[in-house]
């Protein structure tokens, strides 16, 4: 398969196949419990968002405003589907294109006009998310203002024939498989990008931007690519979220959660690993849903904030790197070779 081309060891392939097989069997293992599957479905959607955030980090740029792409993707797709009758699969694709254009626009402004780096870029993303929220609230006729949009059509059809209804939406299992496929596709695209020449340039920029510029890497071009791809997937994830939950309002669409969750889960999983953001997000989202929300009904982000502090201080390399060391040591007879250092974007990509 073309997409698998590139350096890949048989060990990584085995792990990959094992994990995907496990993921496909998960609905059976949880006994088709609608509640658990619902939480998992949301976790899969947010994993796409985390992956998109990690693309930008792999290029050395931290964003505190991915809610801008997520919320706009959700709004574009929902409004197209309701007001213009575009079928949801098409509107989700259009919202992805919109997210990419938005990313390119913001990237052009920030990286070309402003030459913003580090904290300046991170905070201007935060400002962009706020600007989007205020615009959506104030554009009442187009976006229905602060009341939000109800009855967003689902992306899976409902069949009705001879008095029977086959509702693919209300059944959580088809959604689960579809979203798993979307996540897998995103993962393979991100892997392809990060293992290519472009990914190599990203790594170069994240380690030392000035040095990269000196040796002839067109840093603006690669940063633009990173934010465009990142915006695309973040918007798609927002669109899936809107169609899956049926309801969207401005302060939820541009909530600080959509910025905080990718940050916490990518760092928890480890941003030097390709699969780190996914596993980090699955674990963080489920912990948040099953434990944190039970403990604190209001403001459960408190525990996410505390978790972020603990991760940054005690395990800046993430949690998955430990798992990987363990797996490698098992398969190689007790010899772990991974070295960890406390540098944030280390830029070493592996499959699993």
């Amino acid at each position: 398969m073309g997409i698998f081309k590139g350096k890949i060891s048989s060990f990584e392939l085995k792990t990959f196949i094992l994990v995907v097989a496990l993921a496909y069997m998960l609905p059976f293992m949880v006994g088709f419990s609608a509640y658990i599957l619902h939480v998992l479905n949301l976790a899969l959607i947010i994993s796409v968002l985390s992956l998109s955030w990690s693309i930008l980090v792999s290029c050395g740029q931290i964003s505190f405003g991915h809610a801008a792409f997520f919320g706009s993707g959700a709004y574009v797709s929902a409004l197209l589907a309701i007001d213009y009758g575009v079928p949801p699969p098409v509107s989700i694709l259009i919202s992805g294109v919109f997210g990419a254009l938005m990313g390119a626009g913001i990237g052009g402004l920030c990286f070309r006009l402003g030459k913003l780096t580090g904290p300046y870029f991170a905070l201007s993303m935060l400002a962009f998310a706020e600007i989007c929220r205020i615009i959506v609230i104030n554009l009442g006729p187009l976006t229905r203002g602060p009341l939000g949009i109800y009855d967003i059509p689902p992306f899976l059809p409902v069949f009705k024939f001879w008095g029977l209804t086959l509702d693919l939406y209300r059944d959580k299992v088809p959604n689960y498989y579809l979203l798993l496929a979307v996540l897998l596709f995103t993962f393979l695209v991100v892997r392809k990008v990060r293992n290519s020449r472009i990914g190599f340039a990203f790594k170069c920029i994240s380690q030392d931007e000035d040095a990269a510029e000196t040796v002839g890497v067109d840093t603006f071009r690669y940063k633009l690519i990173a934010i465009t791809v990142s915006g695309l997937f973040a918007a798609v994830s927002g669109a899936f979220y809107a169609h899956y939950t049926h309801y969207m309002e401005p302060s939820h669409a541009y909530s600080v959660s959509w910025t905080l969750l990718p940050v916490v889960s990518s760092l928890f999983g480890g941003i030097n690993l390709l699969s780190g953001p996914i596993f980090g997000c699955l674990i963080i989202w489920c912990t948040d849903e099953f434990l944190f929300t039970e403990l604190l009904t209001r403001g459960h982000e408190l525990l996410l904030g505390a978790l972020l502090v603990i991760i940054v201080i005690y395990m800046p390399d993430g949690f998955m790197i430990k798992v990987k060391e363990l797996l490698t040591s098992i398969s190689k007879g007790g010899k772990a070779e991974a070295v960890t250092e406390n540098v944030l974007p280390r830029g070493e990509e592996e499959l699993c």
Binding site: S124, A127, F128, I131, L260, R298, G299, A306
Partner: protein, 290 residues
């Protein structure tokens, strides 16, 4: 008519700018000395505001009198932050402390939500709401009082920074950390003092803020963004430049609000933020950030 409203919006902008300057002073101090951009600064300001609010509701204490108490409470929070968290990752890349303070900010904002709920809170002192006329311009007493208090506090900090040994040490560390260490300045100790001073300024600013505006837990990010942009405007490291930066932002906001629309007031703040960053990331006054 237009000129009168423009003039009064300029005066109002200057008065608000004083409080903005005080808010950003703490951020500028910590940023300059430790090279740490404290993203939880807005939440610290909020915390000071809520402390003043509580003292007002429970003890009927005027926010101007509870200012030292708010500063003390927030200062001790700052001490905990520096001692147990920020100093632990001093050696790590700058973005790590950035993420760390972001997490702390989220934590404080949600702790505020737990304690004081999401309701809009404000200290309403009737004395503050009365207006004073200066010819065609009418301003409220609260605005004038908070402006003069912030100005006094900024001057006080300025005197500490320029006239005392501690101030000299702080400025030396801002200019060149390694050279200051070689001259025998205990940089760890000065870091702690600077962080606590910055937090105390945030707490003091909070108790003034709550007597002018409504506060709610999610306001922290907005305050941090304002403080950040003022520091960028006045140039990192030039702490007295924050007065000019604060007044500039206050006036720009209030003129834009008068001319365009009040419902876009928040938007104007963020647009000014983006434009400033795009055009002049290295500061209009003072030295550049790098």
């Amino acid at each position: 008519m237009l000129w009168e409203s423009l003039l009064s919006s300029i005066v109002y902008g200057i008065l608000v700018g004083g409080v903005y300057a005080l808010i950003s002073m703490g951020l500028a101090l910590i940023w300059g000395v430790m090279d740490v951009i404290n993203l939880s600064h807005g939440e610290l300001v909020l915390l000071g505001g809520y402390v003043a609010y509580w003292l007002f509701v429970l003890e009927d204490l005027n926010p101007l009198l509870s200012l030292p108490l708010a500063a003390l409470v927030v200062g001790s929070i700052g001490l905990i932050m520096e001692k147990f968290f920020v100093s632990k990752i001093k050696e790590a890349p700058a973005l790590n402390t950035f993420l760390l303070t972001y997490g702390i900010g989220i934590f404080i904002a949600n702790a505020i939500l737990q304690i004081w709920t999401a309701d809009y809170r404000r200290v309403n002192v009737s004395f503050f709401l009365e207006t004073v006329s200066l010819g065609p311009i009418r301003v409220s007493r609260g605005d004038v009082l908070t402006f003069s208090l912030s100005f006094g506090l900024i001057m006080f900090t300025h005197i500490i920074l320029t006239k005392t040994y501690l101030g000299k040490a702080i400025r030396a560390l801002t200019e060149d950390r390694i050279a200051a260490q070689l001259m025998g300045i205990n940089d760890k100790q000065v870091d702690i003092i600077a962080f606590v001073m910055g937090s105390m300024l945030a707490g003091a600013a909070g108790s003034l803020f709550v007597s002018l505006y409504y506060v709610y837990p999610a306001l922290g990010g907005w305050i941090t963004a304002k403080a950040f942009i003022i520091v960028v405007l006045s140039g990192v490291g030039s702490m007295s430049g924050t007065i000019l930066g604060g007044v500039m932002l206050g006036v720009a906001e209030s003129i834009a609000t008068t001319l365009i629309s009040a419902s876009y007031r928040e938007l104007i703040g963020f647009v000014i933020f983006i434009i400033t960053l795009l055009i002049k990331p290295s500061g209009l006054l003072g030295r550049s950030s790098h």
